[in-house]
């Protein structure tokens, strides 16, 4: 339903998109991930015919974005970032406006409006002017206008950014439901959302696709697993450095990080290749040393880890740090992942210039 082939977009010397190709089939809800400034919005603007790619093209529903731009947009529901709406209109008037530009007659509009208003929870504010609404409600209105004509393709640019957790959950549920016979491309930096709503993700970084596949595939991509190991140390006599050295000496272990201490215990994060389960060796080591084991857990890498590993260059570049810093901090998982998002924004224009 959505087929992008070799999309490139160049702003002066800045390459916002570099040969981006992907396919989204009918009935798929695909998460479009990437740090800010990676090219998510640019791609979406190209797909919605707001921008033209410098080279490459895309087909939606078999229609080319250059040759049948109007038809493409007829088949499309789009919510731009931050839901820019005409604030002087009331919610009802806005929906009516969008519907009439989409050639819905009044009867069809009212029928659709009932559904959409219910789904987006707008019944209470229908008569209110949009400027009086909170950001969360504005976003719902933006969603409502994207759904008003029941489009086969939905392109949503950070649709949940201003919603509260309950609204998010409801919205993602709805998305899953309508996603069964539609095509949905959803951009976000919230990885938990992708894990709830999408079966597949596309990760972009610096204008290129760095990962595209089912969530399972993407998680497995790094080929690493993490072990969390906690030992008790009631008298405070264990030295963290000794323990971590001993752990690092176990064959197969690639890195050991100490986690923040909780009470009288020491906690470590051990990462290792995926093939062999190291839990027997680790527990043996603990027994040998006579430590008191509180916890030993094996986790597959989370989507978040992969995301950070794949896009870390982006974040570093945007923070104007040296590329050499990348390796050192590669496995630094304790950072809050949100700080990627916050830091990028001011740096992005600098990168363009």
């Amino acid at each position: 339903m959505i087929a992008a082939s070799n999309l490139s977009k160049v702003y002066g010397a800045f390459r916002a998109l570099d040969k981006v190709s992907f396919d989204v089939r009918r009935g798929e809800v695909v998460g479009f991930l990437g740090p800010n400034g990676a090219g998510k919005s640019t791609t979406m603007r190209i797909l919605t015919c707001f921008l033209a790619p410098t080279s490459g093209t895309a087909r939606l529903n078999g229609l080319d974005i250059f040759d049948s731009s109007l038809e493409v947009r007829q088949n499309l529901g789009y919510l731009p970032q931050r839901a820019p709406l005409y604030t002087e209109l009331s919610v009802f008037e806005y929906l009516r406006f969008a519907a009439s530009l989409r050639q819905l007659d009044y009867g069809t509009f009212m029928k659709r409006a009932k559904t959409v208003v219910e789904v987006c929870g707008l019944a209470q504010v229908l008569g209110k002017e949009i400027r009086q609404l909170s950001h969360g409600y504005r976003q719902r209105v933006g969603l409502a206008q994207a759904l008003i004509h029941d489009p086969p393709i939905l392109i949503l640019d950070e649709p949940t950014s201003d919603l509260d957790p309950n609204e998010k959950a409801e919205f993602l549920d709805y998305l899953k439901q309508i996603g069964r016979d539609r095509t949905v491309l959803l951009s976000t930096h919230n990885l938990a959302e992708v894990e709830t709503a999408c079966a597949r993700a596309i990760i972009v970084s610096r204008g290129r696709i760095v990962a595209d596949g089912s969530l399972g595939d993407i998680r497995g991509r790094s080929g690493k697993v993490r072990y969390t190991l906690t030992i008790e140390d009631p008298k405070g006599e264990l030295k963290a450095s000794e323990v971590s050295e001993a752990l690092a000496a176990v064959p197969g272990v690639s890195t050991v990080d100490q986690r923040p201490v909780q009470g009288k215990s020491l906690s470590f994060e051990v990462s290792a290749a995926e093939e062999n389960d190291l839990r027997p060796q680790l527990s043996q080591l603990v027994l040998q040393k006579g430590w008191m084991l509180l916890e030993l857990r094996r986790d597959a890498q989370t989507l978040e880890d992969v995301f950070r590993a794949l896009t870390v260059g982006d974040a570093r570049r945007n923070r104007n740090l040296k590329a050499s810093a990348v390796e050192e901090d590669d496995n630094d998982d304790d950072d809050d992942d949100d700080d990627d998002d916050d830091d990028d924004e001011p740096a992005a224009p600098a990168a363009r210039a």
């Binding site: 702003y11 603007r45 919605t48 015919c49 707001f50 921008l51 033209a52 109007l70 038809e71 947009r73 007829q74 088949n75 499309l76 789009y78 731009p80 970032q81 931050r82 820019p84 709406l85 005409y86 002087e88 209109l89 009331s90 009802f92 406006f97 969008a98 009439s100 530009l101 989409r102 050639q103 819905l104 069809t108 009212m110 029928k111 659709r112 409006a113 009932k114 559904t115 208003v117 219910e118 789904v119 019944a123 209470q124 504010v125 229908l126 008569g127 209110k128 933006g142 206008q145 004509h149 029941d150 489009p151 086969p152 309508i178 016979d181 539609r182």
Partner: protein, 275 residues
């Protein structure tokens, strides 16, 4: 429309049909232009723009007409509206057209609403034409408002000061409409090249006032220089209309300016794709 009535209309929700309804109706050019123009006009009256522009203009015209120097309405003591037609071209060029059009595209670009508008199935030309017609409608409302002056002065239930020859008034209004068509188009163009409505206002106000003012210089420039100025000036093109003459060359002049700047606005809107 109140919240309650809407809630009643919509209180029996239905599930979405399994098969998406495709909107395959051929988009109607006229219908889209009308929808966009309607929204545009609505938003003028919703913000202060419409009231401020209409208010200021009518006050200024009234002030100029009835007060001031020896040629003011009372002092000339004749049944004529010439004085009003002296003032209105300047007001339209300097304030009305720039003020009405400054937001049109610039503000939509700044706030991002343009993106939502353009990703609806509308042609760029429909957007430009819709905005043009919306802005033009407001100017027409204003011109209709200024009719109050001749009506109040020269018709029966009001003062009825004398027998007014209405023909130059009508031809004058025809001239004003033509002038507005050109001026609004220029304003729309400047609004489409910037994201800042204040910049748009000053650019179009300056351009239009300059085009008007060079008409004043026509008399003082001899030979072909004067001819050139007279050829490009809004003022010299307009003046015959106020005297009751409909000059076809002036009609063509105003319509050409309107067409050229509309095309330029269209190109400017389209250029977002490639920048």
């Amino acid at each position: 429309m109140t919240t309650e009535t809407n809630a009643n209309l919509l209180d029996t929700p239905e599930r979405a049909p399994a098969a998406p309804a495709r909107t395959l109706t051929k988009p109607s050019f006229i219908a889209n232009v009308v929808t966009i123009a309607g929204r545009e006009l609505r938003s003028y009256f919703d913000s202060l723009t419409a009231y401020v522009v209409i208010g200021i203009t009518l006050l200024a015209v009234g002030g100029f007409m009835f007060m001031g120097d020896d040629e003011s309405f009372w002092k000339t003591d004749r049944a004529t509206m010439v004085r009003m037609f002296e003032m209105l071209p300047w007001m339209i060029a300097g304030i009305v057209a720039p003020g009405v059009t400054m937001r049109s595209v610039a503000e939509e670009k700044r706030s991002g609403t343009l993106e939502l508008l353009i990703t609806l199935p509308v042609r760029d030309s429909e957007v430009i034409l819709g905005k043009y017609i919306g802005a033009m409608s407001l100017v027409l409302v204003l011109l209709a408002g200024s009719l109050l002056y001749p009506v109040a002065m020269f018709t029966k239930p009001f003062w009825n000061l004398g027998v007014l020859d209405w023909n130059p008034v009508w031809s004058g209004y025809l001239g004003l409409v033509l002038l507005s068509l050109a001026a609004v188009s220029v304003g729309l163009f400047f609004s489409s090249i910037t994201e800042n409505q204040i910049v748009a206002f000053f650019l179009s106000s300056f351009t239009l006032l300059a085009l008007t003012a060079i008409g004043k210089a026509v008399g003082s420039v001899q030979g072909w220089g004067g001819d050139v100025l007279a050829f490009v000036s809004i003022l010299t093109r307009f003046q015959p209309f106020a005297k009751g003459l409909i000059d076809i060359r002036a009609v063509v002049y105003f319509l050409s300016i309107a067409a050229i700047f509309l095309a330029a606005s269209f190109r400017s809107l389209e250029s977002r794709k490639w920048s």
